[in-house]
């Protein structure tokens, strides 16, 4: 039972790199250390294989921390083809372009913070005044977009934001430059969502077309031979990623990073193996769940995996996927393409319900 592999003690060394440590953890035999090392292997394999469509999913809270730099970096490097996230990502990413967040405390007096105009996000302090700036910047942007056309897909609109509004360091900017579409399935659920509503109040024919994003995602997954995902946290970003991958027979590579518990039957806490029963991860997939705070686990995972593959994907950015079209453009809107007709049959076998 277990063959030749043994739990091996390891030692720390002067100048030990993140990649060295991940390799040592891989031999250490136990608990989450081995899951972390397995995650490094899976990301490395995923990046080392040509033609894998790669998804990055995360929750917005991470964008309020310095991990935003790493998330932007891996997009710039071309390591991911699709981004799925929550509405707050847009908010934090934009606001941090012109206003600073501060290290704070979980135990601050929240009523006093409120009176001082500081909002608390865990142990990060967010200046409320910058939301006024957000309004001042977003409304003209929306006017300009509206001048162009009345109805926008979400990823289409967010992509435009990344092109026009974002600053150096921005995730939206990095995504736009790398040609990575940003899917935000709950687009209305945040400050920018509120701005969309506010704009609608004075422009009744302004429409956000959430089904257009579904058409694009369908194109993405039906066109993919293999897919993989790194999913940080739970909720709608996680579910949307695995849900859509069900339509191609499940993810071939999946790394979950979570703090959520499994015992309550939540989607957030569900481990990678549960997704196999739904066909959201394929039976033969390389998959793992690493339990831990993403602000610690993610840089280890990504740092070590980038080292393993020499900081580039198979064929490098641009060449990946062999002629991949700009996924933000998507299929012709509303057209029932032959491929989509085929899905009409296929969909009876692979369904999406869990959320």
């Amino acid at each position: 039972m277990g063959g030749e592999v043994r739990v091996e003690d390891y030692r720390l060394e002067p100048g030990m790199t993140v990649a060295d440590l991940a390799r040592a953890l891989g031999r250490s035999g136990g608990f989450q250390a081995v899951n972390l090392a397995r995650g490094v292997e899976i990301l490395s394999s995923m990046w080392g294989e040509m033609g894998v469509k790669t998804f990055l999913a995360f929750t917005a809270n991470l964008v309020a921390t310095g991990l935003r730099g790493v998330l932007a970096q891996v997009l710039e490097l071309g390591m991911f083809d699709v981004l799925v996230t929550t509405a707050g990502t847009i908010d934090h990413d934009l606001i941090r372009c012109w206003g600073s967040y501060r290290p704070g405390s979980f135990y601050a007096d929240d009523a006093e913070l409120h009176r001082r105009g500081v909002a608390r996000l865990g142990n990060v302090f967010v200046p409320i005044s910058e939301f006024t700036t957000l309004e001042e910047k977003i409304q003209p942007f929306l006017s300009s977009a509206y001048g162009e056309k009345r109805t926008w897909g979400c990823a289409e609109l967010v992509g435009r934001m990344g092109e026009e509004l974002a600053c150096p360091g921005s995730i939206l900017r990095a995504a736009a430059e790398a040609g990575v579409p940003v899917y935000v399935p709950g687009i209305t659920d945040g400050a920018v969502g509120n701005q969309l509503w506010l704009f609608r109040e004075s422009h009744p024919d302004f429409q956000v077309d959430v089904l257009r994003d579904q058409v694009e995602l369908a194109e993405l997954v039906f066109g993919a031979e293999k897919t993989g995902a790194l999913i940080l946290g739970g909720g709608i970003a996680k579910h949307h990623t695995i849900g859509w991958n069900m339509f191609k027979g499940g993810l071939d590579y999946a790394v979950y990073v979570t703090t959520a518990a499994e015992y309550d039957g939540s989607l957030s806490g569900a481990r990678d193996r549960e997704a196999v029963s739904w066909g959201k991860i394929s039976e033969g997939a390389a998959r793992v769940t690493v339990v831990g705070d993403a602000t610690i686990v993610t840089p280890l995972l990504l740092g070590a995996a980038l080292e393993e593959v020499g900081w580039r994907r198979a064929c490098g950015p641009g060449g990946r996927g062999g002629g991949r079209r700009d996924p933000r453009t998507g299929p012709p809107q509303g057209s029932a393409t032959p491929a989509v007709k085929a899905h009409g049959v296929e969909i009876r076998d692979h369904r999406n319900i869990r959320s």
Copy 2:
């Protein structure tokens, strides 16, 4: 420090009711028992006060369990005015009208389940074949709706489903009958969401208008003197509920039930006090977080609170809110009403970002 109140030992008694137990826990002085008892007090106060607009928010996984009966029941009783949930709630609620879920195990072989057509949701087994039934029922429904008009708000469409499709025991049915709008901010993220996309493929001018829901929610919160919420679980249902209540100065009553941890800065794990800093819960609110699995905590909370208020709200269902209009109808779509213009100012002070 602490005055006269003491930790009091309590004893179990033959025939002890849920309400008896909650009262004993209230005197027991420690850990989550006192938070549960505090939750009972808050719900009782909320229901005992006239004119409080009450929100119920929960995640879809609960609808896969027998708790669905309790959730439908409190809607039938008129205890809540607004429902906010995730896309999977629609899926599970509908499918369970014609197909049975089974008690399962967290430790089943997921690959084998997949081959047998069973999907696992925690320790609940879901028959995949019923998703075909879902498609067979939803597509004609959408055709009929489309025949009426091309563009639907989400709550509007879900409300119509509750009227036309649902069965006895259904949450959507109970909501429809009680005139409770059902907001699903991530409407596309589930099986019914997939059906919307599928319908769109052959009906390119079919639109789901997510901003219409925002207009309705704005009407609801700006029109409310006081608001309260029972929030089961985290994610987008939780955030959307507290986010919109920011616009009226925060919830006056708030009970969170969660298993999520605070330490990772997640919205799901954020305690009620964090929302005070954002103005999503008011500084003077009655508020508590009860940490525990909702399938255990919710029936205790609701069962005991219903007993405390004699199973009815102040003024009873129907009379509550004094002439409340059907919130599903919402304000005239797209009109910039005077009330909304006032919000245009107000919005500079209370912003919504966290997700």
Copy 3:
């Protein structure tokens, strides 16, 4: 897959008892609700079968809350034959005989509490001054015990405390009156432990004989045909209980209540199934883990199970076990009895390591 059993919706009812609720949860099909109901079934079966030696294990923090009353009550009712706990149980149980604990808050200013002489135990406030009272009461007790003999077993000494020092409501008192031995494998790790050390400073030949407790426990488990345990929380109380039961082939009934996570390989978070691999729970045992705060889960479990068995064990207290000797007396100290010799062989097959 799953046969005829279905997830059944349930409804709350006026005057619903704790036992009614537990039965409804048992049909509800999902998450921890079904585990709680399973726990009720297991305790009921355990109490309904004659000759089962029953263990109650818990951590000391619970004794700082009103749950202490319930824990004393089930001992008084004769539902358990053996108690295993941590050192703090002695401390809290004694101090609460003469001083009051207060409901407090998790978010108090701990430095200020310290300056005011209040110690915080979660959200319970403990008056530090009462530890002086503890010293004033324990030192004379130890002098008296020392006058009798120099060397005491832990359970022997704690049993004497229960007889001489405790007040109405005390767990130690209830245990003493019910003839239930109290094993505290980490006896020195608390305030009373400090008192033992203090007494030793002036009485160098005073000995606490921890191996005597092991001899007694060996007698208990080797003499038991069947055993069962309700284990609240983790750590040394949990491990000592399952560890000793390994020597009779594992517990036949096991209910764990825990908040600890499994993913870190901790003993506290280990689920019941892990103990099967060690032989600490038998392969055919009735067993379950209920995840949740013990201050909520325990009264539901015990309240419903007591109703199921009519508030008494098979044969009632006293008659149980058919002539069970006082387990505090134990086997003749230090004697190598034939039974023990047999263990010398047996022990090669069942080993105890995990902690």
Copy 4:
């Protein structure tokens, strides 16, 4: 609010070291990343100050993984003066000297494992057969020790094991060589504890003197000007460490690493700030809790902190504490030294109860 410090985005870099990463996390502003970086700072300060008595506490499960190598390494380097742990540490440390543990899975079939003689510890597989070897090695060791004297302190006995039995890589060996006493307050609660009982069966006058360890610990803390602790996990090892440090006015440096939750009032989940109210950590202490699996967090913490201090403590091993006596020898057994008499008064102000 917050001054000049800002949340700073960071980037991964080729060849990034563990220390580089920890520094980046320190500027990243949020969640557990900043707590980890704070932990590195605290350990560095603690090691950089002369005359600080340093405690290392951990739970036994870690010794079943490759982290054992790191734990032994920091003892060899002289970074800690005292070790406090659970009984299983002795078991795993010894067994791994002659038998291999294997990487396993959390989801193995535990009944089948049991039949194959494999015990599961999280996702580590332990060969049960090696417990026979343990018995074969420990019984002669105990005979030899018994030949020398009848009564042994726990740390004294464990220290002797480290000298005589241990192998290269052993924690007990490393502790013995570094002159670090190993305190195991629940000595009987494990496989070696069972061996003590077995030996006692045939040697009725063999005694394990747990109060002797208390006398030694009293000497250690009363003789220390400043103390600090790195505490991995909860339970009795954690509590014993902070409990004894209460007697000197609390730890001056404290780093907790835990996965346990605070909401249940458990000692394991209690954050560092709770200990301030008890005086177990001083009001002015440098302290932090890092939430995460110790197999990931510990090598980051220790690896980065060792780099910060150049892999040596102030004055280096041996010179630390300026003439520190062998703590395993302890004060003359049972003597009421002047220092101890003074404690007789002191103890009225600083009490230990929590466990």
